[in-house]
Amino acid sequence: MTSTKFDISSRVGGLELRSPVIIASGVWPYERELWSPLRLEGVGAVCTKAVSLNLRAGNRGTRVWETPCGMLNSIGLQNGGVHEFLREGMPVARSSGLPFLVNLVMEAEKDVRETIAALKDAPFEIPALELNISCPNVDGDGMDWGVSPKSAARAVAIVRREWKGPLWVKLTPQAPDLPAVARAAEAEGADALVCANTWLGMAMDIKKKRPAFRRVVAGLSGPAVFPLALRAVWQVCGAVSIPVVGCGGVAGWEDAAAMILAGASAVESGSALFADFNLPRKIASGLAAYGAEQGAASIKDLVGLGRDGRA
């Protein structure tokens, strides 16, 4: 193992990351044992499950469905609301000592301002917000914000006004012009972009002869989408100068390396943890070995190296 030669830590969008591997929103439980150093080996930061102003029950009926090398989900932003988060989730999230990002549901302006106010009032500082304008599993509050540059700009502007700390914006691949949305978010003051949330898919329950999900469509994630997410990362990195965090199907150090070579400063991984809790450790050590082999000194030397002048 040559990992000691290569520095995998870096500063991304206002956060100090000891590793470029971030746990994506919506997969990690608020359970203290799972936030212990041993369980979070190789992890640089953790995104919380979506947080909204009030309790949201989420969607009814089937919520997850296996697909080839991936899965569909239709959770629908279930969470206990920001006050429950502060009371119950936050202490657990803090216990790890790692930076965490509060995945903020972009609700109506008034609500989102109230949520942010509550977060600012928290007894301990929230390290960063990840603004979710990209959930495909709800009507209105989700990716409707993220599909057009104009509405995305508005969402980011609203939040930026209230929140002075690190602000990451999580994009949706359903945006017909993703680079334009990325530029809009950058222009309104995002500190980093997460590229991207899930891809709109669906499943049919052939036994019941009806769509598996009540909302028919659902979000596709997991290794299956990696080639699509990498393409999106490539495009967005060519469009903005703020850091981009790759997300979608990352399931091994090779995927992380590919996204970093394409221009990502770090990666988020979600679904692949369903297959392997130890993935972050494996990605971190694989990246360290790879970086050393390439003769690089740190992650920063690899960021965008695969672009080689290409836009």
Binding site: E31, V64, F277
Partner: protein
């Protein structure tokens, strides 16, 4: 212990019936920690297809080895069934709150009746071993023909268990409900696991005793660890995660009308 991932060696894969297998895996951590009602997630293959682990109840533990009772119902379980002794399988577990830990301090009742449907017998066989004479009755129901081996195993491992079959191929003809008392005495609980239809019927049979009928439920799962909220079912008090708040619930707290068939 929160569930962890292990590589476990398949030490025995015994075919009980066409499509039903008793599989034993060496994994000291899980074998030592698992309690009846808890489950594991087994990954069917080596690659990422199938992608998700298959939840299976722990049916027995013996030293470093734990056992599951697997029924082939689709592609993943078929791949699992075809794994050979000596193969290594990725396992996550132990998951969930079993018949003991789901009680949150409630004392064990004096008498327990076990009611299993199909491979739902698995956690009850495990429980019977720990409960000893507290089990006052046990009934296991199966479709019938083609389930003889599994039924025989249940009968062997749970002494005095009554067998039922839908088609009358063995035991008494009829469903497991026929083996249960009409009224549930106050010092008695029923612990049940099986198809949702059976559990629903069970809950309906004892409308007033919902807190003394404990059922182990199923839901599609992704993480098996309480994180993804994919396995949520409706309780009268709101959402509950089968993988972390269950799989064992009181029949009386489940909103049966809103519960979908898997």
């Amino acid at each position: 212990m929160a569930p962890k991932d292990f590589r476990a060696e398949l030490v025995e894969n015994r075919k009980l019936d066409d499509g039903t297998f008793l599989m034993s895996l060496r994994c000291p951590e899980i074998a030592r920690a698992a309690e009846p009602g808890q489950f594991v997630l087994l990954r069917p293959g080596a690659g990422n297809d199938p992608f998700l682990g298959r939840p299976l109840a722990v049916a027995a533990v013996d030293g470093d080895v734990f056992t599951v009772l697997l029924r082939v119902t689709g592609r993943g379980t078929e791949m699992l069934a075809s794994r050979r002794e000596g193969d290594f399988i990725t396992v996550r577990g132990p998951s969930g709150r079993g018949f003991w830990s789901s009680r949150e301090g409630e004392p064990l009742p004096g008498k327990i009746i076990l009611a299993g449907g199909s491979v739902g017998a698995a956690p009850l066989i495990f429980a019977a071993g720990r409960l000893g004479s507290a089990v006052t009755a046990a009934a296991f129901g199966f479709a019938g023909r083609g389930w003889e081996g599994t039924a025989k195993l249940a009968e062997e491992l749970v002494s005095g268990a009554g067998l039922f079959s839908d088609d009358g191929a063995f035991g008494r003809k009829g469903t497991v409900l026929a083996g249960l008392p009409d009224e549930l005495p106050h010092d008695t609980e029923i612990w049940a696991c099986g198809p949702v239809g059976m559990l629903r019927a069970l809950a309906a049979k004892y409308p007033g005793s919902g807190s003394r009928v404990r059922v182990s439920l199923e839901a599609r799962m992704a993480c098996g660890a309480g994180g993804c909220l994919g396995c949520v079912i409706p309780l009268v008090t709101g959402n509950a995660r089968v993988c972390a708040d269950g799989p064992v619930f009181k029949a009386g707290e489940v909103k049966w009308d809103d519960l979908d068939q898997i």
